[in-house]
Each structure stands twice: as structure tokens, then as C-alpha cells.
Symmetry: C2
């Protein structure tokens, strides 16, 4: 909602607050106090709240003191600059315009990584900063397995008749889309005493504190899925933050565990619940009531197929569940190559096209929907911002499977438009802990096993095997 000319000063305000917060946090007195607290809490169990608060705060402290304040200031400055250049370059498809800035981003990202000299791979400190405990050596093999499973699945689906999703592309008045979305938010358990939904150009979730957690969405009046599924996606992020133990508010524990675990919850509520057949057995008649002209002649089967249509495409954020991870892996691999020095920024745009042709069989007509597509590389350090999306997809199935095992009635309830049991289980086993446990620890606690792609692949095979009548 900010007026166009408010951006510059807002950026300076954020940089000032960021610097002051950093200065206060890395004060050696804080380190001494944390040392004392570590010994005072040494006898407490690992999962004790106080012990966890000390452990996680100290981990963040150790990371923060390694990075020089000058570097942080330089990074903020650079981020503001490259973002503005990207905003201009993207519609012009002019990658050359932003390339020198991206070279500086690569250099800054390498400098950041080198504040942590014991890293195994140059991208590890960057991955670690958003998905603590993860590294190239854990993510790469997982992604390789996933790719091995996904590529043949995409190929099989491509051989089947294309799904007709024209029912979604009719005129859907915005106010009615909003009304239906709010109904599902209510049913999911979004707490309107502690949150609200607004409209923005790009949907997001933001937590200010435990009593103020907001989501945004956008509507297209000629595409029903945009507003609907971005609402359910951001709701998943919000349910996570709303479920964090309120005692943790304002501390290092008062947030979701990691970028990957966060994404597991947005994708669980968006896809595993919100694009499931059971969900729509309950909600489709209600949706038809809201949009009788558009949907009364469309069967549940047709609608369900339309919202789950698989088709290789150019845009990550519009991608279906099956091809989505291929988009993510392209970005993950290319960023690693840039950091390793095996790919030059000058060759990046073409490397992008080549990978899209190889992995998805499509090529963007220019760089607007190619290498300039996502904001991530043009708004901070690179190398740590994409793995979370795919880790989240993988974990979404792990958490959902564990919930069903503990509470088998969840499926029957979804078919009744009831989500309280599922929500409660996730709150108890994931959300409440905030940042107490790492992603790997959460997965182990709920599934009894290390992170594996098996539940996710099994989920995709079952759902899309039925939908596309695969052998």
C-alpha cells in the first residue's frame, strides 16, 4: 500500500534498524551472558524451552558475530540498487543491464560464505542461513533422487491426453472470489483476531508478532486458481506462525523452524489438502453456488482435473505440483555453479534457456520470463533462497503422512470440510515448537526416520497416476 515515492526512505529506515539491531546483538556482553546461560542450562533436557532458547539464540549469535557490520551495510546498499535495476530490466528483457550488479551479488555471496571458513561447499553457509542444518552434501543427493523420479513421471503424463482447464479461465468477479476464500480461511482455522487478509501485487505472509500475522493475495478475474490457491498457500504459512508457542514471541524461537519447514506447511494446506479430491467433494457444491453461471455445467471430475493439470511451462510460480520442483532445481543448480565459479554471469541467461529446454522442453522467447523471472537473485545474496521450496514440497508429504498415521479420521473430516484434527496435530507436533527444533529434528520426531523423498514421490504417483490413468 506504500505510495510510489515511499520506497527510498523505507529502505533507509530498514537498513538503519537492521544495523542497530545487529550492533546490539553482537555486543560482546551478549556473548558473555549467553556463555553463562549455556552453563546454567547444561543440565536441562534438549527439548526444554529455556535450554532451547539459549541454544538457538547462541547459534544465531555465533553466526552474527562472524559477519562484519560493514559487509551488512554494503549488502543492504547493493540490494536496494540491484532490485531497482532489475525492476527496470525485467520488462525490457535486458539481462545485460543487471548483469554487472549480479556479478557483485555473486562476489558478495562468496564473501559472506567466507566469513564461515570451515564450510565444505561455498554455498553451505548460504543454505544454512535459511535452512539451518542443511548443506549441499545433503540437498544435492536428495534433489538428484527427486529428479530421477520426476522426469519419467512428467514424460508419462506428457504422453496422456491434455487436461482441459478452460473452466478456470472464465470471468470470476473478485468480490465473490474473496468471499469464498475467506470462508475456507475460516474453516482452516485462520484466526481473524490475530490476522487479516489484504490484496498486494505479490502474495505473501508476514508476522509482526504473535497477535498480528497477515496474509495477502491477488485475484485475476479471468483465472479462478490464482486468488484461490495463493490464499490457501499463504494461509498455510500463517497457520504455522499463529501456532508458534506465544511464550516465544519476540525471542529467537518465535518463528517457524526454517524456510523449508515453512514451505511444507504452505504447500500442505494449498496442495495436499486444498487440491485434493476429498476437499472438493465438500467444497465444490459450495463453489458452484457462488459461481452458478460459470460452474453449474462443470462436473466435479472436470474441475478437479483442471486444478491439477500438469503441463511443462515457463513460469515457476504458475507451475503444477509435478513440474514445480524442476523449476526450483534449475535455479538451485545454476546458483551453485555461479558460486563455484563453473558458470559465469555472462553465460547465465543462455544456461537458463538450455536447462529449461533439457528439463522441461520449453524455451522462453526472451529473458523476461527466463533468467529475469524471479526476484530472488535480485534482492539479496544468492545460493540459499531456492532449496527451501523443494525441501518444503518433500516435507509436506512427510508431515501429512505422519498426521494421517496418528489421526486416520483426518481424511474423512476433510471430506466434511473439517480441519480441526489435522490443524491440532500440526500445531502440537510442528507449529508450537517454533524454532526449537531443526527441520531434520522435526522430521525425525514425527516420522521416526531421516528426511526422505519417498512419501512425496508416493503421494505424486498415487494422485497423478489416478488422474492421468497411468499404468
Amino acid at each position: 500500500y506504500m505510495p510510489r515515492q515511499g520506497g527510498g526512505a523505507r529502505g533507509r529506515q530498514l537498513a538503519t534498524l537492521g544495523r542497530i539491531a545487529q550492533e546490539k546483538f553482537i555486543d560482546p556482553a551478549v556473548g558473555k551472558l549467553l556463555d553463562e546461560l549455556v552453563s546454567l542450562t547444561a543440565d536441562l533436557p534438549y527439548d526444554d524451552d529455556t535450554a532451547s532458547l539459549v541454544r538457538v539464540t547462541r547459534r544465531q549469535y555465533e553466526r552474527s558475530i562472524k559477519v562484519s557490520p560493514d559487509f551488512v551495510a554494503e549488502m543492504y546498499d547493493h540490494t536496494a540498487q540491484i532490485y531497482d535495476v532489475w525492476k527496470e530490466a525485467r520488462p525490457k528483457a535486458d539481462f545485460g543491464m543487471v548483469a554487472p550488479y549480479l556479478e557483485k551479488s555473486v562476489a558478495l555471496s562468496r564473501r559472506y560464505a567466507n566469513f564461515f571458513p570451515d564450510h565444505e561447499h561455498i554455498a553451505d553457509p548460504l543454505i544454512d542461513s535459511s535452512d539451518y542444518g542443511m548443506s549441499v552434501s545433503t540437498v544435492r543427493p536428495l534433489f538428484a533422487q527427486l529428479r530421477e523420479a520426476l522426469v519419467p513421471l512428467v514424460r508419462e503424463i506428457s504422453d496422456r491426453p491434455e487436461i482441459d482447464d478452460s473452466c478456470l479461465k472464465q470471468h470470476y468477479p473478485e468480490n465473490k472470489q474473496r468471499e469464498f476464500g475467506l470462508k475456507v480461511l475460516q474453516a482452516y482455522g485462520f484466526d481473524f483476531e490475530r490476522g487479516r487478509q489484504d490484496k498486494t501485487a505479490h502474495p505473501f505472509m508476514i508476522r509482526f508478532n504473535t497477535g498480528d500475522i497477515r496474509i495477502t493475495t491477488r485475484y485475476k478475474d479471468n483465472d479462478l486458481s490464482e486468488g484461490l490457491f495463493s490464499t490457501l498457500h499463504e494461509c498455510g504459512h500463517a497457520l504455522y506462525e499463529m501456532g508458534v508457542n506465544p511464550d516465544f514471541d519476540g525471542t529467537a524461537l518465535g518463528r517457524g523452524a526454517s524456510s523449508g519447514v515453512h514451505e511444507s506447511q504452505s504447500r500442505l494446506w494449498e496442495n495436499l489438502v486444498g487440491r485434493s479430491r476429498l476437499f472438493w467433494e465438500y467444497y465444490y457444491p459450495q463453489l458452484q453456488e457462488v459461481f452458478p453461471e460459470q460452474l453449474n455445467d462443470v462436473s466435479l471430475d472436470t474441475f478437479y482435473a483442471a486444478i491439477n493439470k500438469v503441463a511443462p511451462s515457463l513460469i515457476r510460480t504458475d507451475a503444477d505440483e509435478v513440474t514445480y520442483n524442476l523449476h526450483v532445481m534449475i535455479r538451485f543448480d545454476l546458483a551453485l555453479n555461479l558460486l563455484e565459479g563453473t558458470l559465469a554471469v555472462a553465460d547465465l541467461a543462455e544456461a537458463w534457456h538450455a536447462r529449461y529446454e533439457a528439463d522441461l522442453g520449453v524455451r522462453a522467447p526472451n529473458d523476461t520470463n527466463g533468467v529475469l523471472q524471479d526476484v530472488h537473485w535480485y534482492s539479496g545474496l544468492i545460493g540459499g533462497s531456492f532449496q527451501g521450496y523443494t525441501l518444503g514440497n518433500v516435507m509436506s508429504a512427510t508431515f501429512f503422512e505422519a498426521a494421517l498415521k496418528a489421526e486416520p479420521r483426518v481424511l474423512a473430516q476433510i471430506k466434511q470440510g473439517e480441519f480441526a484434527t489435522l490443524h491440532r496435530w500440526l500445531r502440537t507436533n510442528v507449529y508450537h515448537h517454533g524454532r526449537k527444533f531443526t527441520a531434520a529434528e522435526l522430521v525425525e520426531r514425527v516420522s521416526g526416520e531421516p528426511l526422505s523423498i519417498d512419501p512425496y514421490i508416493a503421494y505424486l504417483h498415487k494422485k497423478y497416476g489416478e488422474l492421468y490413468d497411468l499404468g
Copy 2:
């Protein structure tokens, strides 16, 4: 737009930021630097930007170092508490509930004043903090003169037939009210690249920085004047902030001069322009086009009289131009009596009723619309928050008269719906200076004379003499 449960943490965040900002500002190193700057700028003219920046910053520094950080923290705490109690007490009309808190507010206000031991009157430091340079010894005589002029005017008007304002009390759909309001905002020169308008429970203007200046309004669908005039009022505040020299942004000069000068601009655009006959000669036909069913049978004369109807009433914010200042003076006087110790909090509610009966001839049925009416006494220190409203009314006429003298064509332009000349004159002579000059200096610069109530009284007599056909 904040969710209901977000208030607590927001209060703590503001207190933390306020404390950090205060700590940084009162650092003795800042004082030393300011001392150096004072000597470096000693030879510059008084109105030089740099000299003014140093002068005003140093004045704020001198004030800030006198107040102990502990006091500031205690005040923030108390403010949060009393505000919550007031919100509960007001609808219950239970002044007793909030009285002990108000006693603490009085004590805190006295303690604040005593950080400035050379004050002449206990309220002076409180008045000075929002209307720099003003004091009880300057405000009281001005208010006494005003009262002497207003009371007979109100009495004369009361003897005339009552104006029928029922044309304003019809059904006015909100979206059409908003559309018309936006049209006037555009014409006034509100810059939508640097601002926006939203809806809130209580209208206000807020400046984040020179590129982000927002106003809010509220609409009643059975009362046209509420949304319309609150829009014009807040627009006046916004035009002032938007006109401040952008080079001053983020400095002590980058704000309006004082609470009184600010109010002079909101009232100028709301009343002297927005409730003038010339304004409506241009806009009334357009308003009729927007609301044909409601207004096609209502003449301009009837409408103009309705929006300027004078009638003693209970609520300050709904009061007409003539009686408004009587509401303000009651509050000003009672707060001074509390601070002087000549009135006890226990007797305040009855003192309120007595003054309303004496000055306005009305008595509220209970304290909800009596002593509990305004938020001001229940959201901070008392004694400095009301004089600005009446000083603003007085100055609005001074500034408008000066503008007309310099640019006589302004009146003919208003009749054409053009405001650029008036806006430019105010920007050049008032807005651009930000906080460089005090209220008294601004008045002297534009009118060549010290602040006087004469232009304001002349304005009221002329306008209401014609409207009520007074002798």
C-alpha cells in the same frame, strides 16, 4: 488495520524504538557536536537552512537531555495502561474507573514540567513541547479575548431561526462519497505519488517520510458531512507535510512547525476554503450530479447553510466553526486547573458539566460524552494537547488573509475549482520552511504583525453575519 490482538506488541515495539532513539539522541557526544556546529554556523543568517537545522536540533537536544529516560519509560507504560482502561470506561460512562489513572497522568505531567524548573507556569513546558514558544501567559489572554467575542456571537445566532440541515442526513452511499472526496483531493493538490487515503475509525494524517504521507477518513452513510469534511481536514495536514522542503526529510526541520500551525492548515482547507460559498458555487453542481436523488431538489443556499449550521452541542469533533473553540477552551482551562492543583480529579467530571452548561448551555446525560469524550487526556501527558486546535483556528484566518492580500485572484480561482495559486503561496510562505520558524515567526513573516485574533473574528463575523442575517 491492525488485528485486535496486535496492540500489545505494537506498544512494546514503539516503546523500545522510542527508548533507543532517545538514548542515541541524548548521547553527550551529540551535544558536543552540536556545540561545535553552533559556533561554525554563528555567522550565517537566522533563516539559513543549515543554521536553522543546527538551531532547532539543539533546541530539541536541550529539551531531551533534561528528561530522564526512566521517566520516559514510565510514561510509555502508563500511557498504554490508561488508554486501555479508558477504552473500557468510556462506553460504560464510568469515570471512577479511570480516575486513579488520570491522577497519575496529572502527577506525571507535573513531574515532566518540573524537569524544566525555570517555567513560569506549570503547564508551560507541556504547551511548549507541542507549540514551541507559546505559554500560558501568551495563550490565556488570547483565549480570553476570543471568548469575549465568541460568547455574544453564539448568543446572537441562537436568537435566529434554526438552520435546517436535514439535506445532509439522507442516505449517501460510501463509494460515491469516496469518489467525490478523491476528486477534491486531486484539485487541492494532494500528491498521490507520495500519499494515499484509507479508511479508519478515527481520521488522521501520518507522515512516514517525504515520499509517504497518508491520510484516513471515515464515512457515515446517513451523514454527508462526516466523510467529506474529515477528508478536506486531513488533506490540509497532508498538503502541509507534502510541502515541507524535501531536503529536510529525516531531520529536525522535516515536519510542520507546531501543533497550532498544523491545525491552521487543516482548518484552512476544511473551513475557509471547503465550507466557503465560493467553493460550493463550483462544486455543488458536481455534488448534485453524484447524488441527484438526494440533492437535485436542494438549493445551493440550503446546502451552504446546512454545512455551516451553528448549534451548541456536546461533542467537540462534531462542533461547528463558531462553537468549536468554546469546547477547546473548556478542556484547556480544566487541564490547567488540574496541573495548578486548584481542581481535583475527583471533581473533574462535575466541573466539565458545569462549564458546558455555563458556556454552551448543554449538559451531557453522563460522562461518556462528558469528561470521557476525548482520547487526549487518556493517551499521554495532559496540559499541552488542546491549545493547538484554537491557535490553529485563529492562525488559519491570519494565513488566509495574508494569502489573499498577496494573491487577490485566489477567491476568483476558488470559484473555478482552482487552488494552485493558494496552494503555491502557502507552500512558499509556510509549508516549505518545515520547522525552521516558530509559529510566532511565521505569523510575523506573513502578516507583518504579532499573532492576533482579529482576522479570525472578522472572518467569523462576516461569514455568520451574512448566513444568519445578523445586525
